[in-house]
Symmetry: C2
Subunit: 482 residues, 2 copies
């Protein structure tokens, strides 16, 4: 989902009454960012509180490439990373993930190996259908074992877009909440639904109900799910003791054309480090603790979820590693604001930095040329000269500067000769220099691919007679082309 | 102001708490349009309930040119047009306009000649300062007489952007409301403020208070003004008997760069017939009559103000002329919805038509080439191939079709070969053909210019010793170049 997909953020068809209501009852964060312009690294960063460049969710096969965890990826979340659910588990929390994990699909990377007690969902994106010969269909897990595969046991109709998955995810959440309320034990629910990800799907009840086609239908169903979850939290008497946060792992994919979502007034989308790629919808909800109708312009990051949740839970932060996340507890509860820099990475490349309202692009790269030949690219209808470049352009000496207050769409460069530029740039450059000097890069986990590691025979496949035979191992360097 | 300038429509800096609150207390209309992509024709259409092509607020000096009422314009609102305040006056209403009139500055065109009882404001835009030799400074009127000139008696500091005008306009409104409440007489207040129009201004109290620079400061002050007006309406006990509507006369001027406003996810801005040029913020407020937290996707137009206000006032519509406005009374009160076409004119050219979610461009033209050489144009950073054309391109045979639900940004054309296009286009073409066949064009009022008609010696100038001597009359055909 994109920033602009929420009614409260200006989607003209206003398809998110439940999220809008959640914002009215809590805090809307306007300047909240994912940790990466795409899924896997962003999710790994959220759960580790650390930038992908630190936690290893990147590749250095080439400079500045988006890497994630497709079926052929060998790697996953490093065992040296300490994930939020692990810390919560040590402190008596019951943790469940519903939906897409995306931190590695080989068994050692699974959620239950990294702090979650329960899982219902899949390790990868729901691409398909596959032939089960060259590529297996993606498995769906319950806890440690697969319970079926997409397009086989869990249907997604590619022609109509119909799938019941979001309804299953809603039911899982509602049931989990009831169980936890009854147990009285603290819990962490990571509701990682994926209906708005290509191939976009919705259940029959929602198909055809939005002004935006299938994408809007999926948004409406997710929004309905949020409403059901909040309703259940309230009904179970948990509202005053439960912090709920809504956000997204990257901007809407403009490359999906009109089937992609909206990034509102922001430039480009998923895969890019322009605002459309990383500025996210964000709402914090906690009746009694977070006042209603709050708006915060605090710079926030998905990595702050890690620190904020620890803070709210009264759990000490790990001291043996650098954390990029900062606690937003006081922002959420008291609407305070503090200064902090924000780093925009594309793979191993630090592309841009934001501090206050200013964003400096050290590198620009939108859609690579080869992709522009066959697709509409990452920024359709949004060519900003010298900014949405189709090649990697180094601006480190004279970064391209935007004021995101006056110019949220990154369309009007501040001239390097202007006093404003000269006032601001030294500070931004110093922030970058300090960051680079102190940065200890994690070992890249997304360099190697291998057809043998695909989901041929996931745990539990025997019981279902769903084991497939894969090819012999033949590792190769993954080709991340953008 | 643009659609996207309201917090409730997704401006990331959320500078409009009063308008957002107004929307929460009333109805937000997401699909509401101005009658023209620029000021004068749009305002003439609102007050006459008729398209500019009918009421004469256009030029046929050239095809498809935006014309308005600068100081050199000879024409103004035609005496044959029947304006909303005239009808209201006949029915006992007390009418006041505060701010920019823009329907002609020669005395016969003034508001008090066309139904208003009171006026405080100016006939033209607040451009300046002028030298009072080749061009006079624009006068400010109270009722029939000028009371001073901009940059002389009514300051706008071009360097700092400081001006107290909006505060004056707020005070005028608050005082008028009090007077009317005391009189018990029905009233019509047209609060036509212009602080967000170039040169953008704000009072000292608001300057530097927004995240968006001077433009945001102006928005904040206008928003404050709306708050003051609504507060006064409520305080005076008028709320249950007063309909308040907020909108704008054209989209934000993207050509003003970062000093222009936001059109949210929409394409281009003022001067164009893309959504950014004509989709407007719109809020209806009437406690007790309009339910709170309503959202309407009804296609609406500024021209509907004419008919809706007559409807609410129980005044019969004139039967001797074609009206383009339709009453939105039942939409506002009962959230009903009806189908109606919407026509996008640029001057005398019918550029596009909308029906349901579909918009067909019969012509495309964004920024003319000569303007692109010296400015950022009407669509900076928004080049959509074959759509934001720099020349007038005729697509009448095969109109460019967009689905504004799935694609509010007009970036993804529906292929003419697709079943969807073939299903939809005959209906749209029939709507256009019917409209053209039935259209009776008004006599164009904006063809002639003359330096002699500038505001040299407005009524009342003698008393102030502010009369200037203009050149002898030398009419010329106005050069509308875009």
């Amino acid at each position: 989902m994109g920033w602009g997909d929420l009614g409260v953020n200006g989607e003209p068809s206003m398809e998110t009454p439940n999220l809008d209501q959640m914002a009215r009852e809590g805090m809307l964060l306007t300047d909240f960012y994912s940790a990466s312009p795409l899924c896997s690294p962003s999710r790994a960063a959220m759960l580790s509180g650390r930038l992908p460049i630190r936690n290893g969710f990147y590749s250095d096969n080439a400079f500045g490439r988006n890497a994630y965890t497709p079926q052929v990826i060998v790697g996953g979340i490093s065992p040296t990373e300490l994930l939020l659910p692990e810390l919560l588990q040590q402190n008596g929390y019951r943790n469940k993930i519903i939906g897409k994990w995306h931190l590695g699909h080989q068994p050692e990377y699974h959620p239950l190996k990294h702090g979650f007690h329960e899982w219902f969902g899949s390790p990868n994106c729901h691409f398909g259908p596959m032939d089960d010969k060259t590529v297996p269909n993606i498995p769906v897990y319950r806890d440690t074992d697969m319970v079926g595969r997409y397009y086989e046991d869990f249907q997604i109709n590619r022609r109509t877009g119909e799938s019941n998955l979001t309804q299953l995810y809603i039911q899982e959440a509602v049931t989990f909440l009831e169980k936890q309320a009854n147990s009285g034990r603290p819990f962490f629910l990571y509701w990682a639904v994926d209906a708005t990800h290509d191939p976009v799907y919705a259940s029959r009840k929602f198909l055809g109900t939005s002004a935006r086609g299938r994408y809007g239908d999926a948004v409406r169903e997710l929004d309905y799910g949020v409403g059901e979850i909040l309703k259940q939290v309230s009904k179970l008497g948990l509202a005053n003791n439960t912090f709920v946060f809504f956000s997204s792992d990257n901007g809407a994919a403009k490359i999906s054309g009109p089937r992609g979502g909206s990034n509102g007034p922001f430039l480009c989308g998923k895969e890019t480090t322009f605002e459309g790629g990383m500025r996210e919808p964000a709402i914090g909800w906690w009746p009694g603790k977070i006042q209603p109708q709050q708006i915060s312009h605090q710079l926030g990051s998905l990595m702050d979820i890690f620190t904020t949740l620890l803070d709210f839970a009264g759990i000490a932060k790990p001291k043996d590693r650098h954390l990029d996340g900062t606690s937003l507890a006081s922002v959420l509860v008291n609407n305070t604001q503090f200064d902090r820099p924000l780093f925009y990475y594309r793979g191993n490349a630090l592309m841009a930095v934001r501090y206050g309202p200013y964003k400096a692009h050290l590198w620009t790269w939108a859609t690579p040329e080869h992709l522009l030949k066959t697709t509409c690219g990452f920024c359709p209808g949004q060519d900003v000269i010298n900014v949405t470049t189709s090649q990697q352009v180094d601006h480190s000496d004279t970064p391209i500067l935007f004021h995101l207050g006056r110019d949220p769409g990154e369309k009007f460069m501040i001239k390097p000769s202007s006093p404003e530029y000269q006032n601001v740039m030294p500070g931004l450059k110093a922030i970058v220099a300090t960051h680079k000097a102190q940065l200890v890069r994690g070992k890249p986990q997304l360099n190697w691919c291998d057809n043998a590691v695909q989901n041929w025979a996931p745990p539990g496949c025997e019981k279902l007679n769903k084991c497939l035979k894969g090819p012999p191992s033949k590792p190769f360097k993954c080709d991340w082309d953008h």
